[in-house]
């Protein structure tokens, strides 16, 4: 066996379902006996990424791969893309529309949190084509 793989389709039109992937991954990690600290890092980072896919990119696909050493997460969407990644990474920067802000999102803290809770993070984005976020959390 190489590792465990989980794939999730993120539905961009259904806000109420956002968070399904992260809570499912969390449930799995708990059963695998992964430490609470690692579970917390993975689920917070993944949740923020999942929400971004719903709010900013109309959904996408999440691939999670786990080995006993690490958890790799790839969040790929075909949304509008991020023109300036450095700016997007800044705390407080947000282009979230008002109706989303009224739900408590749009503080511009998602990407900074993903950076904070993952051990490695990389973003590839092309305007008009889509965004792919790569995150890794080490288990040991």
């Amino acid at each position: 066996m190489n590792g465990l793989k989980w794939t999730y389709e993120v539905d961009g039109s259904d806000f109420t379902r956002a968070g399904e992937a992260s809570s499912n991954v969390k449930k799995n990690l708990r059963k695998l006996g992964v430490s609470p600290e690692v579970i917390r890092k993975v689920s917070i980072a993944l949740y923020e990424g999942e929400i971004n896919m719903v709010i900013h990119a109309n959904g996408g696909k999440i691939d999670v791969e786990m080995t006993p050493e690490k958890i790799d997460m790839v969040l790929a969407d075909t949304g509008k893309g991020i023109p300036d990644i450095e700016q997007a990474m800044q705390e407080g920067w947000s282009t979230a529309p008002d109706e989303v802000r009224s739900l408590g999102f749009g503080a511009g803290m998602g990407l900074p949190n993903m950076k904070k809770y993952s051990d490695e993070m990389r973003i590839e984005s092309t305007v008009g084509v889509g965004t792919t976020v790569y995150m890794t959390v080490y288990i040991k």
Binding site: M1, L4, S22, S23, R30, I39, R40, M66
Partner: protein, 443 residues
């Protein structure tokens, strides 16, 4: 320490082996085996959901009999705040407290009074600011147990204070020993409980090694007896006994404990499903700016406890009415005494883990996925497990067979019949009539 005493148990004679309880259990702790439900002790949190849902009343709580009143030289009743909401047209808590004396208790110490002390202690601890925010209430033992098996990351957030009933038992016992000169073992503290979780919490306490509560009796059992005593109680002059205010009584229903925090940044959730949702979100740090979280396993809070007699919503209204004219709080403290604090830390009990070793656990999970893919996906419960996935997990844990799935069983039979059919129609060569082909080949 004995690891798993549970108040919630099964009456085997009444159990029909249906699937109501297995589907409802929040920790997937119940299976049906040999036509009877079976509780996996490590997983049970004594929330009482199965008692509530069982149409055959086969799930019940174990508690002490009313005879305990005669087993001590000096007995103290510890009535839960929600107990006061069980009576019709009750204007004054004192009638209930006096009736308890008439019933045979030597003294009454209201858990509501201890609840006010716990509220005051909570305020002090929160002000000191050393607790990780948000602070999660430790009052409902079903919730604390749930966190212990399922939300390890939140253990640090649990308020390290003993529940009001425990505080009531400790204080009242200490004071009674002083007053009567009796040794503590001759003094009995008896909790009048709304739920089985509290029974378990006294036999197998969390946060301390030994509970000061000596016995737990059910509201449903003492209630009818007390109601008949109350008629006489009302007829004779009564002692003024109550020492609890609004805050103490409010603990009996959801968000009551929060009201004692005297701070608006709180959240209260009740009902085990809602509690789980809040804990999941809390684990993902989805709440910003919340200081305190009160969680009650029962809908409506303790008024919804399975051992109570009144409809929880009616009880809640009654509680509001009784406390209306009471002062806010009658109990104040300057410092938190060690008597009220946990002295044993809570530890994570990973009962849901597939294996100690991550690699092996991963292999097992791959196997679970594989088996799951071959199952029908109906989560019908006929196999005795709450869902197809739970069955697959049981198989991997060596506790069940995939053939326990009745659909799989049926398809196995169909395959078997197909094979039989093929065999029946197959004629082995020595008996096969000649077709003429053989001769052609010879030539």
């Amino acid at each position: 320490m004995q690891e798993f005493f549970h108040s919630v148990t099964l009456d085997r004679d009444k159990c029909m082996g249906c699937i109501n309880c297995i589907k409802r259990c929040p920790t997937e702790a119940i299976r049906v085996r040999n036509k009877k439900a079976y509780i996996i002790k490590e997983r049970c949190i004594d929330c009482g959901e199965c008692i509530r849902v069982c149409p055959h009343h086969a799930k019940r709580a174990i508690y002490d009999s009313l005879d305990v009143v005669n087993q001590f030289e000096y007995v103290i009743a510890l009535p839960a705040p929600s107990f006061m909401a069980q009576f019709n047209n009750l204007e004054d808590v004192d009638i209930v407290l006096n009736a308890l004396l008439d019933f045979g208790f030597h003294e009454v110490y209201e858990v509501a009074k201890a609840a006010e002390i716990v509220s005051a202690a909570t305020r002090i601890l929160m002000k000191e600011g050393n607790l990780p925010r948000p602070v999660i209430s430790s009052a409902c033992p079903a919730v604390t147990r749930l966190i212990r098996v399922r939300f390890p990351g939140l253990i640090d957030h649990i308020l390290p204070l003993l529940a009001p009933v425990e505080v009531a038992a400790r204080i009242s016992k200490r004071e009674a020993a002083k007053k009567t000169g009796l040794p503590p073992e001759k003094i009995g503290t008896v909790f009048i409980s709304p739920c089985p979780a509290k029974v378990t919490a006294t036999k197998m306490p969390l946060g301390t090694e030994k509970s000061a509560v000596d016995a737990v009796i059910a509201v449903s059992e003492i209630y009818p007896k007390l109601v008949s005593v109350m008629k006489d109680t009302a007829a004779h002059p009564m002692q003024p006994l109550t020492e609890a205010g609004k805050i103490g009584l409010s603990w009996g229903s959801s968000s009551g404990e929060c009201s004692g925090i005297l701070n608006d940044n709180y959240l209260a959730a009740d009902g085990i499903e809602n509690v789980i949702r809040v804990l999941e979100d809390l684990e993902d740090e989805k709440f910003r700016d919340v200081d305190f979280i009160e969680l009650n396993a029962c809908s409506g809070g303790c008024v919804g406890g399975v051992l109570n007699v009144e409809n929880p919503y009616v009880a809640k209204t009654k509680l509001y009415r009784i406390r209306k004219h009471l002062p806010v709080s009658l109990n104040h403290i300057d410092a938190v005494s060690s008597e009220m604090m946990w002295d044993t830390p809570l530890e994570y009990v990973p009962v849901l883990k597939l294996d100690e070793d991550v690699w092996t656990a991963m292999e097992k999970m791959a196997k679970v996925d594989e088996i799951c893919a071959t199952l029908e996906g109906l989560d019908c419960g006929s196999c005795g497990a709450p869902s197809c996935r739970a069955l697959a997990e049981d198989v991997v844990r060596g506790l069940a067979s995939a053939d326990d799935c009745i659909f799989r069983y049926k398809s196995n039979i169909t395959h078997l019949l197909d094979d039989l059919h093929k065999l029946e129609n197959y004629i082995p060569a020595p008996f096969r009539p000649e077709t003429g082909e053989e001769e052609k080949k010879e030539e």
